[in-house]
């Protein structure tokens, strides 16, 4: 009896702090957000007016909102695609890439793995400010200087509305690749070596070694990478807010949902409208998660 009491007390005392913190700072804001989304709250009045779905109706005729959604959608497709293709390629070279008999990575693969991971440990804001300088629109920019020496450009990597989005995408891929090279390398390391050796003995070249052995065996890890990168693409904020002109410009050509939420809430003080944006973003994220779980269901290869 005393033992059960002690056990209960122990469970309670260990859960009290984490559950309280979590309820106060995470669950309650999420719950409130759904209510605030249906009000016209601007922070001045004590009691916000309930306006039902008006914010959402306004949202769907808001051109900037659609621009943001389009950019998130484009990132959702392009960021995982580019990052995974590049990372898979390098992971393959680093782990199974050596030519000749046997399975081994190319010389210096340790060095490459360390260097490729560099961008991952830098804060996104630091990367954003760094590339703002790299992308400078005249010959003081790291990229424009050699391009102008070749007689090209100068390019307004961040000031040309047609180019700015691609610069954002490029920087995101630049930062993400190293992480996925390491992730795929870890995945490859867990595949028994004899798989590759057997394939080689059967006469598989490097291309079939990649497409018919490596890729199918790594499929689980690729799926995980796809979900992670998809969430990264939906959640992107700092790189756009800090690096681009006018926080998502020029002329909203790089803006995304998260920057619009922040802008509406903390620059225009339209708390209701910003929360409605947040709710839409919430459903996009949940939708993406469910969709990717559905689509990725596939025979697992046991080894």
């Amino acid at each position: 009896m005393f033992q059960t009491y002690r056990r209960g007390l122990f469970i309670l005392s260990f859960l009290a702090a984490p559950v309280t913190l979590y309820l106060v700072y995470v669950i309650s804001p999420y719950a409130q957000a759904f209510y605030i989304a249906m009000t016209d709250w601007r922070g001045v009045t004590a009691t916000p007016n309930f306006i039902g779905f008006d914010n959402f109706i306004r949202l769907f005729s808001d051109g900037i909102f659609w621009k943001a959604v389009t950019h998130n959608a484009a990132l959702l497709v392009l960021l995982p695609l580019l990052t995974i293709v590049i990372a898979l390629f390098f992971a393959f070279l680093l782990n199974v890439g050596r030519e000749g008999r046997g399975v081994a990575g190319v010389a210096g693969s340790k060095f490459y793995r360390v260097v490729f991971f560099f961008p991952q440990v830098l804060a996104v804001t630091v990367v954003a400010v760094l590339f703002q300088q790299v992308f400078r629109p005249d010959d003081s920019g790291m990229l424009n200087a050699p391009l102008m020496a070749l007689g090209l450009g100068p390019f307004g990597f961040l000031s040309d509305p047609g180019l700015a989005f691609w610069s954002v995408l490029g920087v995101m891929v630049w930062q993400a690749v190293g992480f996925y090279v390491v992730l795929f390398s870890a995945g490859l390391a867990s595949i028994p070596r004899d798989m590759f050796e057997a394939a080689q003995i059967d006469g598989a070249g490097r291309f079939s070694l990649f497409f018919r052995v490596t890729l199918p065996l790594l499929w689980d890890t690729v799926q995980v990478a796809w979900v992670y990168l998809g969430i990264l693409a939906l959640d992107v904020f700092a790189i756009v807010w800090v690096m681009t002109d006018q926080h998502g410009g020029p002329d909203f050509s790089t803006t995304v949902m998260a920057t619009e939420i922040y802008r509406n809430a903390f620059q225009y003080f339209r708390f209701g409208y910003a929360s409605a944006l947040g709710v839409v973003m919430f459903f996009f994220t949940i939708g993406f998660a469910i969709l990717s779980l559905r689509l990725s269901r596939r025979e697992r290869i046991e080894y």
Binding site: R7, F10, I11, S13, F14, A17, P18, L21, Y22, Y25, V26, I27, S28, P29, Q32, A33, F90, R98, E99, V106, Y112, F116, F117, F118, P119, V121, L122, V124, T125, V126, V129, L130, Q133, D139, S140, G141, A145, P146, W174, G178, F179, V182, L183, R206, L234, D235, F237, A238, V242, A258, I261, Y262, A265, F266, S275, G278, M281, F282, T285, I286
Partner: protein, 304 residues
């Protein structure tokens, strides 16, 4: 003696020639591809380091010119006037407390949820883990007001409201819970139960078993998640941007973002590059020393 060393050198040369013969065009392409990405990764960073010792005029000149002299006072201006020193100190304070708190509270919750079946266990676990799917932007507006209202709590209010480091620490801990609990409870489930039970029979309390037996046994998992949380919280920008609006409270990411966005034309560009260098260099040094653990820590979650 001389003849043996000659043959050794000779055979080495032959081996090298043989290796080079085997290096087909594909192998050369492989190395070219790897080198291209290395250059893409390293050059922007090195270029920033180079610019940090240039003068203002040189920064606005040709991007690839070498500096005439090394302007070390760029760093002094970044540290003092741009307050990078202050911001870095703030970041260190916030992240030390928040990571310690996250690990303490997170491992307690994870342990109980992994090892003590009770009514509602599953519900509490799912409550924590569901946080993994929520975009933080949805909570941003209400969170601002939650923290503002915390400022009105009697006694502790002034310490945990808006513009306080302790307030930010609590928010960091709360938002780190989903992943920490998810990962660590999976980890605790893999540990053997026998040692803990033996200690219980010998009269150790539940609390003592946790701190003196289970935590040391869970060290590999704890190290991974600590690294994950340190990096995640150090690099966080969105939450401090909303919750810390007084300049002298800012963390490093806010300070860095601010020198490039807000200052406008009469901006100290040389100091900006020095500030960037100050933010990048320690991270790279720490990473190079602990790269094995850091890579393992960051990828651990994805491979579970």
């Amino acid at each position: 003696m001389t003849s043996t060393s000659w043959t050794a050198a000779n055979s080495r040369r032959l081996a090298r020639r043989e290796r080079r013969r085997q290096l087909g065009p594909l192998a050369i392409l492989t190395h070219v591809a790897l080198l291209v990405w290395t250059v893409l990764t390293v050059v922007p960073i090195l270029w920033t380091f180079l610019a940090s010792v240039k003068s203002e005029d040189e920064i606005f000149g040709d991007a690839w010119s070498m500096p005439a002299g090394l302007q070390w006072d760029n760093f002094a201006r970044a540290w003092e006037q741009a307050q990078i020193g202050q911001y870095m100190l703030n970041s260190v304070i916030v992240v030390s407390f928040s990571t310690f708190g996250t690990m303490l509270v997170g491992s307690m919750a994870a342990y109980v949820l992994a090892r003590y079946p009770f009514r509602g266990n599953r519900a509490v676990y799912l409550l924590f883990v569901s946080g993994l799917a929520f975009p933080v932007y949805l909570a941003l507006t209400p969170l601002f007001f939650v923290v503002q209202n915390m400022g009105n709590v009697p006694l502790v209010g002034p310490f945990i409201g808006l513009n306080t480091h302790a307030g930010l620490v609590l928010v960091y801990i709360a938002y780190s819970m989903p992943f920490t609990v998810f990962f660590l409870s999976a980890f605790f489930r893999t540990l053997p139960t026998a040692v803990g039970e033996a200690a219980r029979v010998d009269g150790a309390s539940h609390t003592r078993v946790f701190f003196q037996i289970m935590l040391p046994m869970a060290k590999p998992g704890l190290v991974s998640i600590t690294i994950f949380n340190v990096l995640g919280q150090w690099n966080q920008y969105q939450l401090p941007l909303v919750l810390l609006q007084e300049r002298d409270k800012w963390v490093l990411t806010q300070g860095i973002a601010d020198i490039s966005t807000a200052a406008g034309y009469d901006q100290d560009w040389a100091a900006l590059f020095a500030a960037l260098t100050l933010a990048i260099l320690p991270m790279l040094v720490v990473y190079t020393i602990f790269q094995r653990q850091i890579q393992a820590g960051l990828t651990a979650g994805a491979l579970k």
